[in-house]
Protein backbone atom coordinates (compact mmCIF):
# COMPACT_ATOMS: atom_id res chain seq x y z
CA UNK A 1 0.00 0.00 0.00
CA UNK A 2 1.58 3.27 -1.04
CA UNK A 3 1.65 6.28 1.20
CA UNK A 4 -0.41 8.14 -1.29
CA UNK A 5 -3.37 5.87 -1.22
CA UNK A 6 -3.43 5.87 2.56
CA UNK A 7 -3.63 9.61 2.54
CA UNK A 8 -6.48 9.54 0.13
CA UNK A 9 -8.11 6.94 2.26
CA UNK A 10 -7.80 8.93 5.44
CA UNK A 11 -9.15 12.04 3.77
CA UNK A 12 -12.15 10.00 2.75
CA UNK A 13 -12.38 8.65 6.22
CA UNK A 14 -12.41 12.04 7.86
CA UNK A 15 -15.17 13.14 5.58
CA UNK A 16 -17.11 10.02 6.33
CA UNK A 17 -16.61 10.55 10.03
CA UNK A 18 -17.98 14.08 9.91
CA UNK A 19 -20.97 12.96 7.98
CA UNK A 20 -21.69 10.24 10.48
CA UNK A 21 -21.57 12.70 13.38
CA UNK A 22 -23.99 14.96 11.69
CA UNK A 23 -26.30 12.14 10.91
CA UNK A 24 -26.20 10.86 14.41
CA UNK A 25 -27.70 14.12 15.63
CA UNK A 26 -30.04 14.26 12.75
CA UNK A 27 -31.44 10.83 13.45
CA UNK A 28 -31.72 11.68 17.11
CA UNK A 29 -33.81 14.73 16.37
CA UNK A 30 -35.76 12.84 13.77
CA UNK A 31 -36.72 10.13 16.22
CA UNK A 32 -37.75 12.73 18.75
CA UNK A 33 -39.52 14.74 16.11
CA UNK A 34 -41.47 11.73 14.99
CA UNK A 35 -42.84 11.27 18.45
CA UNK A 36 -45.52 13.90 18.69
CA UNK A 37 -45.62 13.97 22.45
CA UNK A 38 -41.89 14.46 22.71
CA UNK A 39 -42.03 17.17 20.10
CA UNK A 40 -44.74 19.06 21.96
CA UNK A 41 -42.83 18.62 25.20
CA UNK A 42 -39.63 19.79 23.56
CA UNK A 43 -41.34 22.87 22.17
CA UNK A 44 -42.77 23.72 25.59
CA UNK A 45 -39.38 23.39 27.20
CA UNK A 46 -37.69 25.46 24.51
CA UNK A 47 -40.36 28.09 24.92
CA UNK A 48 -39.74 28.27 28.63
CA UNK A 49 -36.03 28.45 28.13
CA UNK A 50 -36.45 31.32 25.71
CA UNK A 51 -38.74 33.05 28.19
CA UNK A 52 -35.99 32.71 30.71
CA UNK A 53 -33.47 34.27 28.40
CA UNK A 54 -35.74 36.98 27.10
CA UNK A 55 -37.35 37.92 30.41
CA UNK A 56 -35.64 41.32 30.61
CA UNK A 57 -36.83 42.19 27.12
CA UNK A 58 -40.32 40.80 27.34
CA UNK A 59 -41.23 41.98 30.80
CA UNK A 60 -43.41 45.08 30.69
CA UNK A 61 -42.57 46.09 34.29
CA UNK A 62 -39.93 45.75 36.92
CA UNK A 63 -40.79 42.51 38.66
CA UNK A 64 -39.61 43.78 42.03
CA UNK A 65 -41.06 47.24 42.01
CA UNK A 66 -43.63 47.53 44.76
CA UNK A 67 -46.51 49.77 43.94
CA UNK A 68 -49.00 49.48 46.75
CA UNK A 69 -51.74 51.68 45.29
CA UNK A 70 -51.91 49.37 42.27
CA UNK A 71 -52.32 46.20 44.22
CA UNK A 72 -54.62 43.37 43.25
CA UNK A 73 -55.73 44.58 39.87
CA UNK A 74 -57.36 41.80 37.96
CA UNK A 75 -55.99 41.02 34.51
CA UNK A 76 -56.34 43.91 32.10
CA UNK A 77 -54.62 45.31 29.04
CA UNK A 78 -52.08 47.06 31.23
CA UNK A 79 -51.42 44.03 33.34
CA UNK A 80 -52.14 40.91 31.35
CA UNK A 81 -52.02 38.68 34.36
CA UNK A 82 -53.01 41.30 36.88
CA UNK A 83 -51.01 42.58 39.80
CA UNK A 84 -50.22 40.95 43.08
CA UNK A 85 -50.89 42.07 46.61
CA UNK A 86 -48.01 44.52 46.43
CA UNK A 87 -48.96 45.95 43.09
CA UNK A 88 -46.28 44.12 41.17
CA UNK A 89 -47.01 43.01 37.64
CA UNK A 90 -47.62 39.26 37.74
CA UNK A 91 -46.60 38.72 34.12
CA UNK A 92 -43.22 40.31 34.68
CA UNK A 93 -42.71 38.32 37.82
CA UNK A 94 -43.59 35.13 36.06
CA UNK A 95 -41.17 35.89 33.27
CA UNK A 96 -38.36 36.55 35.71
CA UNK A 97 -39.42 33.67 37.87
CA UNK A 98 -38.98 31.15 35.08
CA UNK A 99 -35.27 31.54 35.63
CA UNK A 100 -35.59 30.50 39.24
CA UNK A 101 -38.02 27.67 38.72
CA UNK A 102 -36.12 26.20 35.82
CA UNK A 103 -32.92 26.81 37.73
CA UNK A 104 -34.15 24.91 40.76
CA UNK A 105 -35.37 22.12 38.52
CA UNK A 106 -32.22 21.76 36.54
CA UNK A 107 -29.74 22.20 39.31
CA UNK A 108 -31.49 19.89 41.73
CA UNK A 109 -31.77 17.20 39.12
CA UNK A 110 -28.16 17.75 38.19
CA UNK A 111 -27.17 17.50 41.81
CA UNK A 112 -29.20 14.34 42.34
CA UNK A 113 -28.05 12.85 39.07
CA UNK A 114 -24.39 13.50 39.76
CA UNK A 115 -24.33 11.70 43.08
CA UNK A 116 -26.93 9.17 42.08
CA UNK A 117 -25.12 8.16 38.93
CA UNK A 118 -21.80 7.88 40.66
CA UNK A 119 -23.19 5.76 43.45
CA UNK A 120 -25.22 3.66 41.05
CA UNK A 121 -22.26 3.01 38.76
CA UNK A 122 -20.03 2.02 41.62
CA UNK A 123 -22.64 -0.19 43.28
CA UNK A 124 -23.72 -1.80 40.05
CA UNK A 125 -20.25 -2.39 38.71
CA UNK A 126 -18.48 -3.66 41.78
CA UNK A 127 -21.43 -5.50 43.29
CA UNK A 128 -20.84 -7.59 46.40
CA UNK A 129 -20.29 -5.71 49.63
CA UNK A 130 -19.84 -2.35 47.92
CA UNK A 131 -23.27 -2.78 46.45
CA UNK A 132 -24.69 -3.98 49.73
CA UNK A 133 -23.45 -0.94 51.61
CA UNK A 134 -24.55 1.56 49.00
CA UNK A 135 -27.89 -0.12 48.51
CA UNK A 136 -28.63 -0.14 52.21
CA UNK A 137 -27.80 3.55 52.43
CA UNK A 138 -30.10 4.19 49.49
CA UNK A 139 -32.78 2.17 51.23
CA UNK A 140 -32.49 4.47 54.20
CA UNK A 141 -32.85 7.49 51.95
CA UNK A 142 -35.77 5.94 50.16
CA UNK A 143 -37.45 5.02 53.40
CA UNK A 144 -38.06 8.70 54.08
CA UNK A 145 -41.08 9.95 52.32
CA UNK A 146 -39.36 12.41 50.00
CA UNK A 147 -40.89 15.64 51.11
CA UNK A 148 -40.24 14.87 54.76
CA UNK A 149 -36.58 14.41 54.03
CA UNK A 150 -36.58 17.69 52.18
CA UNK A 151 -38.43 19.37 55.02
CA UNK A 152 -35.94 18.12 57.54
CA UNK A 153 -33.01 19.20 55.41
CA UNK A 154 -34.45 22.63 54.88
CA UNK A 155 -35.21 23.19 58.49
CA UNK A 156 -31.61 22.26 59.15
CA UNK A 157 -30.15 24.47 56.46
CA UNK A 158 -32.69 27.24 56.58
CA UNK A 159 -35.17 28.15 53.89
CA UNK A 160 -33.69 29.41 50.67
CA UNK A 161 -33.86 28.50 47.06
CA UNK A 162 -30.42 26.95 47.14
CA UNK A 163 -31.34 24.77 50.07
CA UNK A 164 -34.53 23.74 48.35
CA UNK A 165 -32.39 22.75 45.40
CA UNK A 166 -30.16 20.68 47.62
CA UNK A 167 -33.07 19.10 49.44
CA UNK A 168 -34.93 18.19 46.29
CA UNK A 169 -31.67 17.02 44.78
CA UNK A 170 -30.92 14.82 47.75
CA UNK A 171 -34.11 12.94 47.50
CA UNK A 172 -33.61 12.23 43.85
CA UNK A 173 -30.21 10.67 44.54
CA UNK A 174 -31.57 7.23 45.38
CA UNK A 175 -33.88 7.29 42.38
CA UNK A 176 -31.04 7.92 39.99
CA UNK A 177 -28.79 5.54 41.83
CA UNK A 178 -31.31 2.73 41.62
CA UNK A 179 -31.86 3.12 37.92
CA UNK A 180 -28.17 3.45 37.20
CA UNK A 181 -27.34 0.51 39.40
CA UNK A 182 -29.90 -1.66 37.64
CA UNK A 183 -28.82 -0.66 34.16
CA UNK A 184 -25.18 -1.01 35.09
CA UNK A 185 -25.74 -4.52 36.28
CA UNK A 186 -27.54 -5.28 33.07
CA UNK A 187 -24.95 -3.71 30.81
CA UNK A 188 -22.12 -5.19 32.82
CA UNK A 189 -23.27 -8.62 31.80
CA UNK A 190 -23.23 -7.82 28.10
CA UNK A 191 -20.65 -9.35 25.93
CA UNK A 192 -19.07 -6.13 24.84
CA UNK A 193 -18.08 -5.44 28.40
CA UNK A 194 -16.53 -8.88 28.61
CA UNK A 195 -14.81 -8.10 25.35
CA UNK A 196 -13.24 -4.94 26.67
CA UNK A 197 -12.24 -6.73 29.83
CA UNK A 198 -10.48 -9.42 27.87
CA UNK A 199 -8.63 -6.66 26.09
CA UNK A 200 -7.24 -5.71 29.48
CA UNK A 201 -9.06 -2.44 30.08
CA UNK A 202 -9.10 -1.08 33.62
CA UNK A 203 -12.24 -0.40 35.62
CA UNK A 204 -12.21 3.31 34.91
CA UNK A 205 -12.31 2.82 31.16
CA UNK A 206 -14.94 0.15 31.49
CA UNK A 207 -17.20 2.20 33.71
CA UNK A 208 -16.93 5.56 32.08
CA UNK A 209 -16.26 4.80 28.46
CA UNK A 210 -18.26 1.67 28.01
CA UNK A 211 -20.95 1.39 30.62
CA UNK A 212 -21.90 4.98 31.22
CA UNK A 213 -22.67 5.97 27.62
CA UNK A 214 -24.87 2.93 27.28
CA UNK A 215 -27.04 3.66 30.25
CA UNK A 216 -27.53 7.27 29.28
CA UNK A 217 -30.98 6.88 27.85
CA UNK A 218 -32.71 5.71 31.00
CA UNK A 219 -30.82 8.44 32.82
CA UNK A 220 -31.99 11.11 30.43
CA UNK A 221 -35.53 9.85 30.57
CA UNK A 222 -35.46 9.68 34.33
CA UNK A 223 -33.81 13.08 34.40
CA UNK A 224 -36.52 14.79 32.44
CA UNK A 225 -39.26 13.13 34.44
CA UNK A 226 -37.44 14.02 37.65
CA UNK A 227 -37.29 17.60 36.46
CA UNK A 228 -41.05 17.63 36.48
CA UNK A 229 -41.22 16.22 39.97
CA UNK A 230 -38.45 18.46 41.19
CA UNK A 231 -40.29 21.56 40.10
CA UNK A 232 -43.45 20.31 41.78
CA UNK A 233 -41.58 19.44 44.97
CA UNK A 234 -39.89 22.80 45.05
CA UNK A 235 -43.27 24.44 44.64
CA UNK A 236 -44.63 22.27 47.44
CA UNK A 237 -41.84 23.35 49.73
CA UNK A 238 -42.44 26.96 48.83
CA UNK A 239 -46.08 26.33 49.60
CA UNK A 240 -45.04 25.33 53.09
CA UNK A 241 -43.05 28.54 53.25
CA UNK A 242 -39.69 26.87 52.99
CA UNK A 243 -38.64 27.90 49.55
CA UNK A 244 -37.49 31.02 47.83
CA UNK A 245 -37.09 34.14 49.90
CA UNK A 246 -39.03 37.29 49.10
CA UNK A 247 -39.19 39.18 46.94
CA UNK A 248 -37.96 36.53 44.55
CA UNK A 249 -40.61 35.65 42.00
CA UNK A 250 -40.12 31.90 42.15
CA UNK A 251 -43.34 30.34 40.93
CA UNK A 252 -43.87 28.11 43.92
CA UNK A 253 -43.48 31.09 46.21
CA UNK A 254 -45.84 33.16 44.07
CA UNK A 255 -48.34 30.37 44.14
CA UNK A 256 -47.93 30.08 47.85
CA UNK A 257 -48.56 33.75 48.46
CA UNK A 258 -51.41 33.63 46.00
CA UNK A 259 -53.25 30.97 47.90
CA UNK A 260 -54.51 33.50 50.41
CA UNK A 261 -56.22 35.20 47.56
CA UNK A 262 -57.53 32.08 45.95
CA UNK A 263 -61.06 33.32 46.49
CA UNK A 264 -60.65 37.06 46.17
CA UNK A 265 -57.94 37.30 43.53
CA UNK A 266 -57.63 33.84 42.01
CA UNK A 267 -55.40 35.06 39.17
CA UNK A 268 -52.58 35.46 41.65
CA UNK A 269 -52.44 31.72 42.14
CA UNK A 270 -53.77 30.55 38.83
CA UNK A 271 -51.08 31.95 36.60
CA UNK A 272 -48.05 30.65 38.45
CA UNK A 273 -49.93 27.39 39.00
CA UNK A 274 -50.55 27.10 35.29
CA UNK A 275 -46.97 27.96 34.48
CA UNK A 276 -45.78 25.17 36.74
CA UNK A 277 -48.34 22.74 35.42
CA UNK A 278 -47.47 23.43 31.79
CA UNK A 279 -43.75 23.19 32.40
CA UNK A 280 -44.18 19.96 34.27
CA UNK A 281 -46.38 18.75 31.47
CA UNK A 282 -43.65 19.67 29.02
CA UNK A 283 -41.04 17.68 30.86
CA UNK A 284 -43.37 14.75 31.26
CA UNK A 285 -44.24 14.70 27.59
CA UNK A 286 -40.63 15.09 26.64
CA UNK A 287 -39.43 12.41 29.01
CA UNK A 288 -42.07 9.97 27.88
CA UNK A 289 -41.41 10.66 24.26
CA UNK A 290 -37.72 10.29 24.86
CA UNK A 291 -38.33 6.96 26.49
CA UNK A 292 -40.23 5.78 23.46
CA UNK A 293 -37.68 7.20 21.08
CA UNK A 294 -34.70 5.73 22.89
CA UNK A 295 -36.21 2.41 23.75
CA UNK A 296 -34.54 -0.14 21.51
CA UNK A 297 -37.67 -2.25 21.63
CA UNK A 298 -39.75 0.39 19.96
CA UNK A 299 -36.97 1.31 17.59
CA UNK A 300 -35.92 -1.94 16.00
Amino acid sequence: MTINSTEVDSAKLILARKKIRKEKWKTFFMTIGQNKAAAVGGVIILLYISLTLLAPILSPYDPYEINLPDKLHSPSMAHWMGTDDKGRDILSRILYGSRLSLGVGFSSVFFGAFFGITLGLVAGYYGKWVDTIISRCLDVMLAFPGILLALAIISALGPSLINVTIAVGVFSIPLFARIVRGSTMEVKKLEYIDAIRTLGANDFIIIFRHIFPNILSPIIVQGSLRLATAILSAAGLSFLGLGAQPPSPEWGAMLSSGRDFIFSAPYMAIFPGLMIAILVLGFNLFGDGLRDALDPRTKK
Partner: protein, 306 residues
Protein backbone atom coordinates in the same frame (compact mmCIF):
# COMPACT_ATOMS: atom_id res chain seq x y z
CA UNK B 1 -42.43 -17.39 51.33
CA UNK B 2 -42.46 -17.29 55.09
CA UNK B 3 -38.69 -17.29 55.14
CA UNK B 4 -38.61 -14.59 52.53
CA UNK B 5 -40.79 -12.36 54.67
CA UNK B 6 -38.72 -13.13 57.72
CA UNK B 7 -35.55 -12.24 55.89
CA UNK B 8 -37.02 -9.00 54.71
CA UNK B 9 -38.18 -8.20 58.22
CA UNK B 10 -34.67 -8.71 59.50
CA UNK B 11 -33.37 -6.41 56.77
CA UNK B 12 -35.69 -3.68 57.94
CA UNK B 13 -33.81 -3.30 61.21
CA UNK B 14 -30.66 -1.69 59.81
CA UNK B 15 -32.74 0.53 57.57
CA UNK B 16 -34.73 1.76 60.53
CA UNK B 17 -31.57 2.28 62.52
CA UNK B 18 -30.22 4.28 59.61
CA UNK B 19 -33.38 6.32 59.54
CA UNK B 20 -33.18 7.11 63.24
CA UNK B 21 -29.56 8.12 62.88
CA UNK B 22 -30.20 10.38 59.91
CA UNK B 23 -33.17 12.06 61.55
CA UNK B 24 -31.23 12.45 64.72
CA UNK B 25 -28.33 14.08 62.96
CA UNK B 26 -30.50 16.33 60.86
CA UNK B 27 -32.39 17.49 63.89
CA UNK B 28 -29.11 18.28 65.57
CA UNK B 29 -28.20 20.50 62.66
CA UNK B 30 -31.46 22.35 62.91
CA UNK B 31 -30.97 25.77 64.40
CA UNK B 32 -33.31 26.81 67.16
CA UNK B 33 -33.05 25.66 70.74
CA UNK B 34 -36.04 23.55 71.69
CA UNK B 35 -35.73 24.73 75.28
CA UNK B 36 -36.05 28.34 74.19
CA UNK B 37 -39.00 27.56 72.01
CA UNK B 38 -40.71 25.66 74.77
CA UNK B 39 -40.16 28.38 77.30
CA UNK B 40 -41.91 30.80 75.03
CA UNK B 41 -41.58 34.50 74.43
CA UNK B 42 -40.06 36.46 77.24
CA UNK B 43 -38.91 33.58 79.46
CA UNK B 44 -35.84 34.08 81.59
CA UNK B 45 -32.45 32.47 81.07
CA UNK B 46 -32.75 30.36 84.21
CA UNK B 47 -36.06 28.94 83.10
CA UNK B 48 -34.54 27.99 79.79
CA UNK B 49 -31.51 26.37 81.34
CA UNK B 50 -33.65 24.46 83.74
CA UNK B 51 -35.76 23.20 80.89
CA UNK B 52 -32.69 22.19 78.95
CA UNK B 53 -31.41 20.23 81.90
CA UNK B 54 -34.72 18.47 82.35
CA UNK B 55 -34.89 17.52 78.71
CA UNK B 56 -31.42 16.01 78.76
CA UNK B 57 -30.25 18.34 76.03
CA UNK B 58 -26.95 18.92 77.81
CA UNK B 59 -25.70 15.39 77.45
CA UNK B 60 -23.21 14.45 74.72
CA UNK B 61 -24.74 13.67 71.34
CA UNK B 62 -23.92 10.02 71.12
CA UNK B 63 -25.33 9.46 74.57
CA UNK B 64 -28.54 11.14 73.55
CA UNK B 65 -28.68 9.01 70.43
CA UNK B 66 -28.03 5.70 72.12
CA UNK B 67 -30.46 6.28 74.88
CA UNK B 68 -32.97 7.27 72.23
CA UNK B 69 -32.46 4.13 70.18
CA UNK B 70 -32.56 2.02 73.31
CA UNK B 71 -35.87 3.52 74.25
CA UNK B 72 -37.24 3.10 70.75
CA UNK B 73 -36.72 -0.62 71.00
CA UNK B 74 -38.56 -0.58 74.26
CA UNK B 75 -41.42 1.12 72.46
CA UNK B 76 -40.77 4.46 74.11
CA UNK B 77 -40.42 7.29 71.66
CA UNK B 78 -40.04 9.92 74.35
CA UNK B 79 -42.34 12.77 75.19
CA UNK B 80 -43.28 15.70 73.08
CA UNK B 81 -41.42 18.84 74.01
CA UNK B 82 -44.51 20.79 73.25
CA UNK B 83 -47.16 19.24 75.42
CA UNK B 84 -45.17 16.60 77.24
CA UNK B 85 -47.41 13.85 75.97
CA UNK B 86 -45.87 10.54 74.98
CA UNK B 87 -44.89 10.81 71.33
CA UNK B 88 -46.23 7.36 70.65
CA UNK B 89 -49.68 8.40 71.86
CA UNK B 90 -49.61 11.49 69.71
CA UNK B 91 -48.62 9.39 66.72
CA UNK B 92 -51.26 6.79 67.39
CA UNK B 93 -53.93 9.46 67.32
CA UNK B 94 -52.84 10.56 63.87
CA UNK B 95 -51.50 7.45 62.25
CA UNK B 96 -54.95 5.90 61.71
CA UNK B 97 -56.14 9.13 60.13
CA UNK B 98 -53.23 9.34 57.76
CA UNK B 99 -53.49 5.66 56.98
CA UNK B 100 -57.16 6.07 56.26
CA UNK B 101 -56.43 8.98 53.99
CA UNK B 102 -53.60 7.08 52.35
CA UNK B 103 -55.79 4.02 51.96
CA UNK B 104 -58.58 5.86 50.24
CA UNK B 105 -56.14 7.77 48.09
CA UNK B 106 -54.35 4.66 47.02
CA UNK B 107 -57.71 3.09 46.26
CA UNK B 108 -58.51 6.03 44.05
CA UNK B 109 -55.07 5.74 42.53
CA UNK B 110 -55.52 2.07 41.79
CA UNK B 111 -59.11 2.01 40.69
CA UNK B 112 -59.03 5.15 38.59
CA UNK B 113 -55.57 4.38 37.29
CA UNK B 114 -56.38 0.84 36.25
CA UNK B 115 -59.65 1.70 34.62
CA UNK B 116 -58.15 4.58 32.70
CA UNK B 117 -55.09 2.56 31.75
CA UNK B 118 -57.14 -0.34 30.45
CA UNK B 119 -59.47 1.92 28.49
CA UNK B 120 -56.41 3.43 26.86
CA UNK B 121 -54.63 0.20 26.17
CA UNK B 122 -57.59 -1.61 24.67
CA UNK B 123 -57.67 0.76 21.76
CA UNK B 124 -54.31 2.45 21.52
CA UNK B 125 -54.15 5.79 19.71
CA UNK B 126 -57.92 6.01 19.59
CA UNK B 127 -59.78 9.10 20.69
CA UNK B 128 -60.57 7.62 24.09
CA UNK B 129 -56.95 6.64 24.60
CA UNK B 130 -55.64 10.05 23.75
CA UNK B 131 -58.16 11.89 25.88
CA UNK B 132 -57.58 9.64 28.87
CA UNK B 133 -53.85 10.08 28.54
CA UNK B 134 -54.11 13.84 28.19
CA UNK B 135 -56.15 14.00 31.37
CA UNK B 136 -53.63 11.74 33.05
CA UNK B 137 -50.74 13.95 32.02
CA UNK B 138 -52.51 16.99 33.34
CA UNK B 139 -53.18 15.08 36.53
CA UNK B 140 -49.50 14.50 36.99
CA UNK B 141 -48.60 18.05 36.25
CA UNK B 142 -50.85 19.80 38.74
CA UNK B 143 -49.34 20.69 42.09
CA UNK B 144 -51.45 18.74 44.56
CA UNK B 145 -52.10 21.58 46.99
CA UNK B 146 -53.26 23.70 44.12
CA UNK B 147 -55.60 21.00 42.93
CA UNK B 148 -56.87 20.65 46.48
CA UNK B 149 -57.68 24.33 46.79
CA UNK B 150 -59.40 24.36 43.43
CA UNK B 151 -61.51 21.34 44.28
CA UNK B 152 -62.41 22.88 47.61
CA UNK B 153 -63.38 26.12 45.94
CA UNK B 154 -65.59 24.43 43.38
CA UNK B 155 -67.21 21.61 45.31
CA UNK B 156 -67.36 22.97 48.81
CA UNK B 157 -67.63 26.72 48.61
CA UNK B 158 -69.42 27.25 45.31
CA UNK B 159 -71.50 24.12 44.88
CA UNK B 160 -71.63 23.26 48.56
CA UNK B 161 -71.82 19.56 47.78
CA UNK B 162 -69.07 18.52 50.10
CA UNK B 163 -67.72 19.76 53.40
CA UNK B 164 -64.72 22.07 53.24
CA UNK B 165 -62.38 20.48 55.68
CA UNK B 166 -62.00 18.18 58.62
CA UNK B 167 -62.21 14.45 59.03
CA UNK B 168 -65.55 13.58 60.54
CA UNK B 169 -67.59 11.74 57.96
CA UNK B 170 -67.25 9.85 54.70
CA UNK B 171 -68.02 13.02 52.83
CA UNK B 172 -64.94 14.60 54.33
CA UNK B 173 -62.72 11.94 52.85
CA UNK B 174 -63.68 12.48 49.24
CA UNK B 175 -61.86 15.66 48.27
CA UNK B 176 -58.58 15.01 50.09
CA UNK B 177 -58.46 11.48 48.79
CA UNK B 178 -58.99 12.67 45.24
CA UNK B 179 -56.44 15.41 45.63
CA UNK B 180 -53.87 13.02 46.95
CA UNK B 181 -54.73 10.13 44.69
CA UNK B 182 -55.02 12.03 41.42
CA UNK B 183 -51.34 12.26 40.60
CA UNK B 184 -50.82 8.64 41.43
CA UNK B 185 -53.84 7.59 39.43
CA UNK B 186 -52.39 9.33 36.42
CA UNK B 187 -49.08 7.58 36.86
CA UNK B 188 -50.74 4.21 37.35
CA UNK B 189 -52.90 4.81 34.30
CA UNK B 190 -49.88 5.48 32.16
CA UNK B 191 -48.00 2.56 33.60
CA UNK B 192 -50.95 0.23 33.08
CA UNK B 193 -51.28 1.38 29.54
CA UNK B 194 -47.67 0.90 28.58
CA UNK B 195 -47.45 -2.32 30.49
CA UNK B 196 -50.58 -3.61 28.79
CA UNK B 197 -49.30 -2.59 25.40
CA UNK B 198 -46.06 -4.36 26.10
CA UNK B 199 -47.81 -7.50 27.29
CA UNK B 200 -50.12 -7.44 24.32
CA UNK B 201 -47.05 -7.68 22.13
CA UNK B 202 -45.79 -10.75 23.95
CA UNK B 203 -45.63 -14.19 22.40
CA UNK B 204 -48.08 -15.72 24.83
CA UNK B 205 -50.78 -13.29 23.81
CA UNK B 206 -50.24 -14.39 20.26
CA UNK B 207 -50.59 -17.95 21.55
CA UNK B 208 -53.85 -17.04 23.21
CA UNK B 209 -55.13 -15.52 19.99
CA UNK B 210 -54.03 -18.56 18.06
CA UNK B 211 -56.19 -20.62 20.39
CA UNK B 212 -59.16 -18.63 19.22
CA UNK B 213 -59.90 -16.98 22.56
CA UNK B 214 -62.27 -14.05 22.66
CA UNK B 215 -60.88 -10.55 22.87
CA UNK B 216 -62.00 -9.80 26.39
CA UNK B 217 -60.75 -13.13 27.69
CA UNK B 218 -57.38 -12.31 26.24
CA UNK B 219 -57.37 -8.87 27.80
CA UNK B 220 -58.57 -9.77 31.27
CA UNK B 221 -57.31 -13.29 31.71
CA UNK B 222 -54.08 -13.32 29.77
CA UNK B 223 -52.90 -9.76 29.47
CA UNK B 224 -54.03 -7.91 32.56
CA UNK B 225 -52.59 -10.32 35.09
CA UNK B 226 -49.17 -10.01 33.56
CA UNK B 227 -49.49 -6.32 33.02
CA UNK B 228 -50.25 -5.84 36.69
CA UNK B 229 -46.83 -6.98 37.79
CA UNK B 230 -44.95 -3.77 37.01
CA UNK B 231 -48.01 -1.79 38.07
CA UNK B 232 -47.78 -3.24 41.56
CA UNK B 233 -44.29 -1.88 41.89
CA UNK B 234 -45.43 1.52 40.75
CA UNK B 235 -48.28 1.49 43.21
CA UNK B 236 -45.84 0.60 45.95
CA UNK B 237 -43.58 3.48 45.03
CA UNK B 238 -46.60 5.70 44.70
CA UNK B 239 -47.47 4.91 48.26
CA UNK B 240 -44.19 6.45 49.29
CA UNK B 241 -44.78 9.75 47.59
CA UNK B 242 -48.33 9.60 48.84
CA UNK B 243 -47.10 9.60 52.41
CA UNK B 244 -45.08 12.68 51.55
CA UNK B 245 -48.06 14.21 49.83
CA UNK B 246 -50.19 13.87 52.93
CA UNK B 247 -48.17 16.71 54.41
CA UNK B 248 -49.61 19.15 51.92
CA UNK B 249 -53.09 17.73 51.67
CA UNK B 250 -53.49 17.46 55.40
CA UNK B 251 -52.57 21.11 55.61
CA UNK B 252 -55.04 22.18 52.99
CA UNK B 253 -57.93 20.13 54.32
CA UNK B 254 -57.15 20.59 57.98
CA UNK B 255 -56.72 16.91 58.61
CA UNK B 256 -55.01 15.99 61.81
CA UNK B 257 -52.63 13.48 60.33
CA UNK B 258 -49.11 12.30 60.74
CA UNK B 259 -47.73 14.38 57.90
CA UNK B 260 -48.99 17.61 59.35
CA UNK B 261 -47.85 16.55 62.77
CA UNK B 262 -44.31 16.11 61.51
CA UNK B 263 -44.31 19.44 59.74
CA UNK B 264 -45.61 21.17 62.85
CA UNK B 265 -43.07 19.35 64.94
CA UNK B 266 -40.27 20.44 62.66
CA UNK B 267 -41.49 23.99 62.90
CA UNK B 268 -41.59 23.93 66.65
CA UNK B 269 -38.36 21.97 66.93
CA UNK B 270 -40.20 19.29 68.80
CA UNK B 271 -37.37 16.86 68.23
CA UNK B 272 -38.78 13.69 69.82
CA UNK B 273 -41.94 14.25 67.85
CA UNK B 274 -40.05 14.67 64.56
CA UNK B 275 -37.94 11.63 65.24
CA UNK B 276 -40.90 9.53 66.21
CA UNK B 277 -43.02 10.74 63.33
CA UNK B 278 -40.40 10.20 60.69
CA UNK B 279 -39.54 6.85 62.18
CA UNK B 280 -43.13 5.70 62.02
CA UNK B 281 -43.63 7.13 58.55
CA UNK B 282 -40.53 5.31 57.37
CA UNK B 283 -41.65 2.12 59.05
CA UNK B 284 -44.98 2.33 57.30
CA UNK B 285 -43.23 2.96 54.04
CA UNK B 286 -40.86 0.08 54.51
CA UNK B 287 -43.67 -2.26 55.46
CA UNK B 288 -45.72 -1.24 52.49
CA UNK B 289 -42.74 -1.97 50.34
CA UNK B 290 -42.42 -5.35 51.92
CA UNK B 291 -46.06 -5.95 51.18
CA UNK B 292 -45.52 -4.90 47.61
CA UNK B 293 -42.57 -7.23 47.29
CA UNK B 294 -44.62 -10.10 48.64
CA UNK B 295 -47.44 -9.34 46.24
CA UNK B 296 -44.97 -9.00 43.45
CA UNK B 297 -43.63 -12.40 44.31
CA UNK B 298 -47.06 -13.93 44.46
CA UNK B 299 -47.99 -12.48 41.11
CA UNK B 300 -44.70 -13.16 39.49
CA UNK B 301 -43.40 -16.50 40.50
CA UNK B 302 -40.91 -16.37 37.69
CA UNK B 303 -38.73 -14.25 39.87
CA UNK B 304 -37.83 -17.40 41.72
CA UNK B 305 -35.87 -18.47 38.72
CA UNK B 306 -33.20 -15.88 39.22
Amino acid sequence: MFLFILKRLVQIVPVILGVTLVVFLIMQMVPGDPAVIMAGEGASKETVNELRENLGLNRPLYEQYFSYVGNVFKGDLGNSLKNNQPVLDEIMIRLPITMELAFFSIMITIVLGLIAGIISAVRPYSFSDISVMVVALIGISLPSFWLGLLLMYVFSVKLQWLPVAGWDSTAHIILPAITLGAGGAAIVARMTRSSMLEVVGQDYIRTAKAKGLKGHVIIYKHALRNALIPVITVVGLQFGSLLGGTVLVESVFAINGLGRMIVDAIRTRDIPMVQGGVLVASLVFVFVNLLVDVMYKVFNKRIDLN
